[in-house]
């Protein structure tokens, strides 16, 4: 640390000695060695006990879901409650697959997610570039207007947008769920613009001197440099499309086109007490998202911190 901290009174703070323990909030812990070790042990224990207790509370619903998916009918109905079954069964999954075209719903959702991702990344990168890297009249105004649209709640625009899709005969298709992403997503435009603003101007200048036009600079010079941000945008859009419920609910009436979320909703409507198959389907709906999160944890968390998007 290069700056020596000063107290309000102006006295310099003694830098902590090597044997002193400094906690994350900057406290320097006690002096007598034996006592210090004990208090350290006790506080560590207290911290872990609290965190473990809270973790258990947060995990109970998910554990209950997963164990429920693998329980036999007898265990599901048992009283007192069976926490972890002795016998694991896949009956709930096969039963769910009979009642419910699971594979088709997964395929449908994947198609919507992938096209939405491509659209969101491509269009938001383009617009972000246009706002950050090209100096033209009106770019600040456009940026402000784009940000302002995030304040308009979906329920205000829901009906007119539905009417537009109905007028062109595209309700009951996936296009209303995919095409809007090709027109730039405001929050991603914001994120990518911030990234692009931080790149040095000289990058574009030298490419321009070599005779590259704006499009070539965008695709060959700039895009490779903002790959991490593009990945973050792709992940967020995947998550948003995977979790979307209202969109499919409004636009899809043909059961063959349903997404996992929409199918799960109707499944619950019909079999609200068939907890075994319900938990089996829920587990399948949650697993892809959790796996994706584990592989891309850092990107997720940094993206949320930067934009405040919560999926």
């Amino acid at each position: 640390m290069s700056i020596v901290p000063r107290t309000a009174a102006g006295a310099t703070v003694e830098p902590p000695g090597r044997t002193d323990r400094r906690t994350a909030d900057g406290r320097v812990v006690g002096t007598p060695r034996r006592q210090r070790r004990w208090t350290w042990l006790l506080t560590a224990l207290a911290k872990h006990a609290t965190l473990i207790g809270l973790s258990v509370i947060f995990l109970i619903p998910l554990v209950w879901m997963v164990t429920g998916a693998f329980k036999t009918a007898a265990d599901l109905n048992a009283s007192p409650t069976v926490w972890f079954p002795d016998q694991i069964t896949f009956d709930n999954f096969t039963q769910a697959a009979q009642l419910f075209p699971l594979a088709r719903y997964f395929f449908n959702t994947a198609v919507i997610c992938i096209f939405s991702m491509v659209g969101a990344v491509a269009s938001s990168a383009m617009v972000g570039y246009g706002l950050a890297r090209i100096e033209w009249r009106g770019r600040t105004a456009l940026f402000v207007v784009i940000l302002a649209t995030t304040m308009v709640p979906f329920y205000v625009t829901m009906l007119p947008v539905f009417e537009i899709w109905r007028a062109v005969g595209l309700t009951n298709t996936w296009l209303p769920l995919i095409l809007p992403q090709f027109l730039g997503v405001p929050i991603y435009i914001f994120l990518l613009r911030q990234f692009l603003m931080s790149l040095p101007k000289e990058l574009s200048e030298s490419a321009r001197i070599d005779g590259a036009n704006e499009w070539q600079i965008f695709t060959r010079v700039t895009l490779p440099l903002i790959k991490p941000a593009l990945v973050a945008v792709g992940l967020f859009q995947f998550l948003a499309s995977w979790n979307d419920f209202l969109g499919p609910l409004i636009y899809l009436s043909d059961a063959r086109l349903y997404t996992v979320s929409l199918g799960l909703n109707f499944f619950r409507g019909e079999y609200s007490t068939e907890f075994g198959p319900l938990m089996a389907v829920s587990t399948l709906a949650v697993v892809p998202i959790v796996v994706l999160f584990f592989f891309a944890q850092r990107t997720f968390i940094e993206g949320i911190t930067l934009t405040g998007v919560k999926g």
Binding site: T23, F58, M126, G130, M151, L159, I164, I304
Partner: protein, 295 residues
């Protein structure tokens, strides 16, 4: 205009064209159109007649609307402060020097990325009075649990619990805020004799206040849009006994079940104005006390 400037103007417009089209098609036109529709007797199939403010005055006399607004506000008033408190507590805990912080962080975060429909279905099992885990746990400590989602008095508290379970995203934002507080400030405060509580009050809180204001405002706006969990858990009916009929659900019913589109758009504008008004009040009152000295 020089050639260079003209080129830039052209390229700028080309690159931004997707957003310009999107803006006009998905926001500007829809906003104007829904405002216009709110003054008509439009249904899903007919464009209706101009009826002035009738939809708005009908709303004032609509008991279901008032009740749905009351339920929305009730859920918001409980779940927002509790969510912020829980998220802040988790963020402060995770900011302590403990082993395995990243594991705990994942555990608290994961519920927030579970699809809302799955969240609702899983919790319907947790809350089930007969087969659910919650009442079984309560029974183990001698408490006879309520019927939760089937009981008009307990359905809203159940929904609030579900909302708090998903605070992970907010926790991550607040954690970033806690980590921005300069460590020297804690040391100085400590040397000046400030205790744990006073350090939290005078160092942590001021530095976190922009993040907390952000959480409050986005939470408010999201609260007025509350819909999916209730829709899934009550098959779109707001049961039992209308106790979970929220504004978002009543609006959806008017649009896609009763096809009273003119009336529904009027309701949308009232909700929008209420949300905006609340946000302005928060900015004027809480926003004044926010400290922007950090970062």
């Amino acid at each position: 205009m020089s050639r260079m400037q003209r080129d830039n103007q052209r390229w700028g417009l080309i690159f931004c064209s997707p957003a310009i089209v999107g803006l006009l098609l998905l926001t500007v036109y829809p906003v104007l159109r829904s405002l216009q529709a709110s003054f008509t007797s439009a249904t899903m199939m007919t464009s209706g007649d101009f009826i002035g403010l009738s939809n708005y005055s009908d709303l004032l006399g609509d008991d279901t609307f008032w009740r749905s607004l009351g339920n929305t506000v009730f859920i918001l008033v409980w779940s927002l402060p509790l969510s912020i408190l829980v998220a802040l507590a988790l963020a402060l805990l995770l900011n302590l020097d403990v082993r395995g912080r990243s594991v705990y962080r994942v555990i608290f975060f994961v519920p927030s990325i579970v699809p809302l429909v799955a969240t609702a279905v899983v919790w319907s099992y947790v809350f089930d009075p007969q087969y659910g885990i919650l009442n079984s746990l309560l029974g183990a400590v001698g408490i006879q649990g309520p019927s939760w989602l089937a009981d008009p008095a307990w359905a809203k508290p159940a929904l609030i619990i579900i909302a708090i379970w998903g605070v992970g995203g907010l926790m991550v934002i607040l954690l970033a805020g806690v980590q921005d507080v300069p460590a020297q400030l804690y040391e100085s405060a400590k040397l000046d004799g400030a205790g744990v509580f006073s350090r939290f009050r005078h160092v942590t809180l001021p530095f976190m206040s922009p993040h907390l204001l952000f959480a409050l405002v986005t939470g408010l706006i999201a609260g007025f849009q509350y819909f999916t969990e209730v829709f899934v858990l009550t098959s779109g009916q707001g049961e039992p006994a209308g106790s979970t009929m929220v504004a978002g659900l009543y609006l959806y019913q008017n649009l896609f079940e009763f096809f009273r589109t003119g009336y529904a758009t009027a309701m949308a504008w009232v909700l929008f104005l209420l949300a905006a008004l609340t946000a302005v009040v928060v900015f004027r009152t809480v926003g004044r006390r926010v400290y922007y000295g950090g970062s």
